[in-house]
Amino acid sequence: MSAAPQGPFGDPPFIPTHQSRHLEALADEAVTIIREVATECENPVLLFSGGKDSAVLLHLAVLAFAPARLPFPVMHVDTGHNFPEVITYRDEFVERVGARLVIASVQQSIDDGRVVEDEGPRASRNRLQSVTLLDAIAEHGFDAAFGGGRRDEDKARAKERILSFRDRFGRWDPRAQRPEPWDLLNARIRKGEHLRAFPLSNWTELDIWQYIKAESIPLPTIYFSHRRVVVPRDGMLLSVGGPVEVEPGEQPFEETVRYRTVGDASCTGAVRSTAATIDDVIVEVAAARITERGATRADDNFSESAMEDRKREGYF
């Protein structure tokens, strides 16, 4: 018998925590989904934003095929409005797991005239990502895209199946979802269509953090408390600098904050927090009274159907 590696990252074994049985069952489910889609589809890709959910997803994907290498590339849809810490982290993490990184650039879509950027200081590129994503999927001929979406994030996501099918226009039709009995996944598609696979569908924000702790998965530093110059806008604290410019009448100030989600810097808000370690964050998340998207995403607060509308257009 040949020796299988003890921990594909040279990491310590799974540390049993108070919720270890629950987390392990979620990980078993995710690994099974990843293996099945990667085997049924010809040319899958894993969407990696550098956020905590995609870090867990990529970690599980590596475990799913160990000791073999990850059999598909990783793609970052880059809005150009990044936190520099996240880009550094992205490159290190992808290199560490030995994956091939594909970058789909929203800036390129703008330069090519595929999308028109909104004007003004509050313009966000978040919605533009859908076009860049669909273009990249077509360009590379990807037939399946793994995403880190979770059903507890949003009420439209709560309705989405593990496998979410997109027509030739990239659209999701929530009223005609493919039935998904048991875990017998049916990944058959026609040419030109693609599917999104969500192996973390049944995870909660707290599950993600507890798993990150149990598996010692590295994260971008902005997930932990730090001092930052912010400006209050639309009920959120936006980081000053990069795409966010101070408008007349706004008073920026320095605050101790951290990020609960990592997205486009122009519309992702920081939360006041002194949580400096994973244990601190776990306690904070357990006590949180606002959902992570409600607390940190301006784009989801436009209307009660904001996520459903964007998903219909091809969003993650």
Partner: protein, 437 residues
């Protein structure tokens, strides 16, 4: 107007926090619950109550529910809006598709699949209930067991849900009358006793609106000596090991470049497997011995059902995706009979041809016959020339590839398959095998 969210405080937050600080040890596996019923039964109110009393409803979600209630409703806070996440559902005031909700107590984590109750969305209920350990069926105490209740109990039993929590709701509206409760329980118990698959009924006299017997025992029901619904769910034992043999439907052969490692990846079902166990490969019938086991890329000596593992064998046996590694005896078959839930517009007819997927085996299936269709009102067995969307029936199939089939009642993994439409690729039917020859 009553804001039901302000009525009770379960007091769980403190304990939940203590737990997350690492002070509590839970060993109960996650419980998957399917709920069925219409808005009128109070199903969504019950889920809202469970989410609220376990502090799972967030303030921004609550604010959104208040806002949406004002838009769609008559001014009352409608907890159904917490789970009815699609615009069409909010506009029509009905549940169309399955919504998943998550909550945890110090004792256990829960996944709730909130499924639609209307007959025209039976296929979505089947999707939601197919992964459930337990089903909660709601009955309005004033109306008792109705046609929909019987249909839900029947579907749950077909899908192998062994236990139904019968939540007799709105007990406050019948003055907490023990006789009313008993007659509902007797009615449904009598019905399920006549079903082909055994189902246990455990009944709770509750008020989802007021919270009685949902999270904690109610003083309004001194005659009821059982636990509150949540207490019972926390302690419910769900067997992961069936009576069947251990089986691994091979998803993929893992062969790293430049290494002689060869592992067979899949999700273990049925029973445990350990290093040293003798296995048989189906359908080839070749035998070998397990010499290595990995889970999450790490060596382990033993694996239990449900785990996503990789198995190494002593011999260089020809094994591909779709093959099954079995511990003990198992036989392959190319004909099966089973219960089917039909899920698409295109009808199923005798002689029609479909793709099938059983475990990780994909092939062609031909419908040999429709034995009978279940009338969902009377549960009579009726002859049928074709099956339409949401029909439940018994059919006989011939398969192009042999499968290691088991009866669904003894092995969920070995006893189920899906039929897929060759033209559209959509999943057309869910089959629970009753006979493997």
């Amino acid at each position: 107007m009553t804001n039901v969210l302000d009525v009770h405080d379960g007091g769980l937050m403190t304990t939940v926090l203590e737990e997350h600080a690492g002070l509590h040890v839970s060993t109960m596996p996650t419980l998957r619950i399917a709920t069925a019923g219409s808005v009128d039964d109070g199903k969504s109110t019950l889920i809202g109550r469970l989410l609220h009393d376990t502090k799972t409803v967030f303030e921004d979600q609550l604010a959104a529910v208040h806002k949406a209630s004002a838009r769609y409703g008559d001014g009352e806070v409608n907890l159904a809006l917490l789970t009815d996440g699609l615009r069409a559902e909010r506009e029509q005031g009905i549940t169309i598709d399955v919504a998943h909700r998550y909550f945890a107590t110090p004792a256990r984590s829960f996944i709730v699949a909130d499924t639609p109750g209307h007959a025209q969305y039976t296929r979505n209920m089947v999707t939601g209930a197919s992964n459930a350990d337990v089903a909660i069926v709601l009955v309005d105490a004033r109306h008792g067991v109705v046609e929909q209740t019987r249909r839900h109990a029947f579907i749950a039993s077909l899908l192998g849900v062994h236990t139904i929590a019968l939540a007799v709701n709105k007990m406050d509206l019948v003055d907490w009358d023990e006789g009313e409760f008993d007659s509902v329980v007797k009615d449904l118990t009598g019905f399920v006793d006549a079903l082909p698959t055994p189902v246990e009924i455990v009944a709770f006299p509750i008020s989802a609106l007021l919270g009685d017997n949902v999270v904690s025992h109610s003083t309004s029901t001194p005659w009821y000596e059982g636990p509150a619904l949540l207490e019972w769910l926390e302690q419910l034992d769900v067997a992961t090991e069936g009576s069947g043999a251990a089986r691994l439907d091979v998803q993929r052969v893992i062969r790293p470049q430049g290494s002689d490692y060869r592992g067979y990846a899949g999700r273990l079902a049925g029973a445990r497997v350990a290093v040293g166990d003798a296995i048989t490969v189906q359908p080839s019938g070749r035998t070998s011995t397990v010499v290595g086991l990995q889970r999450f890329g790490r060596d382990t000596a033993c694996a239990t059902p449900g785990e996503a593992i990789t198995i190494e064998l002593a011999d260089d046996v020809d094994i591909a995706r779709g093959d099954v590694l079995v511990l003990g005896n198992a036989v392959s078959t190319e004909t099966v009979t089973g219960q089917v839930c039909w899920m698409i517009d295109r009808p199923l007819e005798p002689g029609s041809r479909w793709w099938f997927k059983h475990g990780t085996r994909v092939g062609r299936a031909i419908v040999e016959s429709i034995e009978y269709r279940h009338d969902l009102t009377t549960l009579e067995q009726l002859p049928a020339d074709e099956l339409r969307m949401n029909d439940l029936a018994v059919i006989r199939l011939s398969l192009s590839e042999p499968i290691v089939a088991e009866a669904y009642v003894s092995s969920r993994e070995g006893g189920r398959l899906i039929l897929v439409d060759e033209a559209t690729n959509t999943t057309a039917g869910a089959v629970m095998i009753t006979t493997t020859s």
